[in-house]
């Protein structure tokens, strides 16, 4: 029982990472019906910008420790959000009326560019985040179930971000406009909605969250390399499909489920088999619910 609880907590932590990144895929798909393959690359750049930001701030603050994390996180979000908006502006908007294939190729192109840039700038070797920023102690919340301080922070931050995003999308005027644009661009324009601006906002929020997730993941694991974007990006993408692409609560749910299945598979069977188990289950879910768990509209335009 304790083991199960422990695994669940670990699974939810990984799931929260997937969910944060999956949100970016699903929001962009919602408004553009485009799989933004560049999203994984933006996420990975979040890890690199975070690394540089931390190193610079640690020098400037003369070893300020954990104090450096918050301003770095802000820098990461802002930088990656701006890159996201730039990508949309130069690589997607000009192709908006060019059918479905051209934007996908453009997205793949941006993904390769982001990855190559990272490798050329930072090198192909593993990078490690400065250690000791967050005390390593673990707290026993139940008998035999331990949560590290890092894990607690990651979970709290992720859930706050997701709650904030949910409220934004479902309770504000601009959030409602996003959902309207996802349903019908033309009618949205007839409502007086500046559709280009709403799309830019999506490319501000999705990559902003994704970039921050990159930094959090790198902090959590301590080291990473330029392939981070592919592995995590792909899993987050799968989470988005699993939850029902285009559906925001779906992306959160899909991420959690994938994280939990993977962790349970690794814990109860074996780490070598966790992917096999996870993806067999995913394929089964999709066979029975092709639109994903919360997707109503068919994943037709994929």
């Amino acid at each position: 029982m304790q083991q199960l609880l422990q695994q669940l907590i670990n699974g939810i932590t990984i799931g929260a990472f997937y969910a944060l990144v999956a949100l970016g895929y699903t929001m962009v798909y919602g408004v553009l019906k485009l799989i933004n393959f560049a999203h994984g690359g933006l996420f990975m750049w979040g890890a690199y910008v975070g690394l540089t930001g931390l190193n610079v701030l640690l020098v400037l603050l003369a070893g300020g420790g954990a104090v450096a994390i918050f301003p770095t996180a802000v820098i990461v979000m802002v930088t990656i959000a701006m890159v996201g908006v730039l990508v949309e502006r130069v690589a997607y908007r000009p192709l908006r009326s060019a059918g479905r294939l051209a934007p996908i190729i453009s997205a793949l192109g941006v993904a390769f560019i982001l990855e190559s840039l990272a490798r050329n700038v930072y090198g192909a070797s593993y990078k490690t985040y400065p250690t000791g920023l967050i005390p390593v102690g673990r707290v026993e919340i139940l008998q035999g179930v331990r949560v590290s301080l890092m894990q607690a922070i990651v979970l709290i931050v992720s859930f706050l971000l997701m709650a904030a995003l949910y409220l934004f999308v479902y309770r504000t005027r601009i959030g409602t406009a996003m959902r309207a644009v996802a349903l019908d661009h033309e009618v949205s324009r007839l409502m007086g909605i500046d559709v280009d601006r709403i799309i830019a906002t999506v490319f501000l929020i999705g990559p902003g969250l994704g970039g921050l997730a990159g930094m959090i993941v790198a902090l959590y694991y301590g080291s990473f390399d330029f392939t981070l974007g592919w592995i995590f990006g792909l899993k987050a993408f799968i989470s988005a499909i699993l939850g029902g692409i285009g559906n925001i609560p779906g992306a959160m749910l899909g991420g959690m489920i994938l994280g939990i299945i993977e962790t349970l598979g690794a814990g109860y069977v074996s780490p070598q088999w966790k992917d096999v188990i996870a993806y067999v289950i995913l394929i089964l879910i999709l066979i029975f619910r092709p639109t994903g768990l919360l997707g109503e509209r068919v994943a037709e335009k994929l």
Binding site: A177, S188, R189, L190, D194
Partner: protein
Amino acid sequence: MLLLKTENLHTYYGHVHALKGISLEVEEGEIVTLLGANGAGKSTTLRTISGLVRPREGEVKFKGHVLNHVPAHRIVQMGVCHVPEGRRIFTTLTVMENLMMGAYTVKDERVVQENLQRVFDLFPRLAERKNQLGGTLSGGEQQMLTIGRALMARPSLLLLDEPSLGLAPMLVKAIFDTIREINARGTTILLVEQNARAALKIAHRAYVLETGRVVLSGPAQELMQDERVRKAYLGER
């Protein structure tokens, strides 16, 4: 006062020459109707006015401003609302959220509430259904929602594209009564209709379109008596 004037509009879809020089005028306070067979260019005329498509030649003028290069969402802000063909409500948004999207350009919350009250006065059914998802409304209710949603911006010119299409006869009458009511409350209306008889009955003036050209125009009363109109559009022989 002249509210809307289009001059020699030529609009294309790729190589399809849909409008071949449409000129028409709408005076403030009028109901003007556009009649014509399928494919005559009625919807394209409205889409050119609201900025969804651009004319290759000619001019759209609203309150003296040329709209040719004004983005569609800014045209709404200037007071032109277009209810497109085919009840395109936001199906997974609630009725209330649909209406709020209609008021997207209205920044003053007091004015939004005022407009909402007017819309609910006009369509009490929408008030009853305000928390329901748009997609769960009946056809007639969806049509009320598309019109109510456009009225949330309190436009000075309302473009209506076949509002009675696919509705039961009872509802058709109700929709035409509502259009007259909206006009009586001060909104100028440009109405596209297949139901020529009902449209001519409530309109002040009419234009008849054939393959992208205006072939007839004049006061609705006169057109109702016109031989050609009676034969082609009122089903008489």
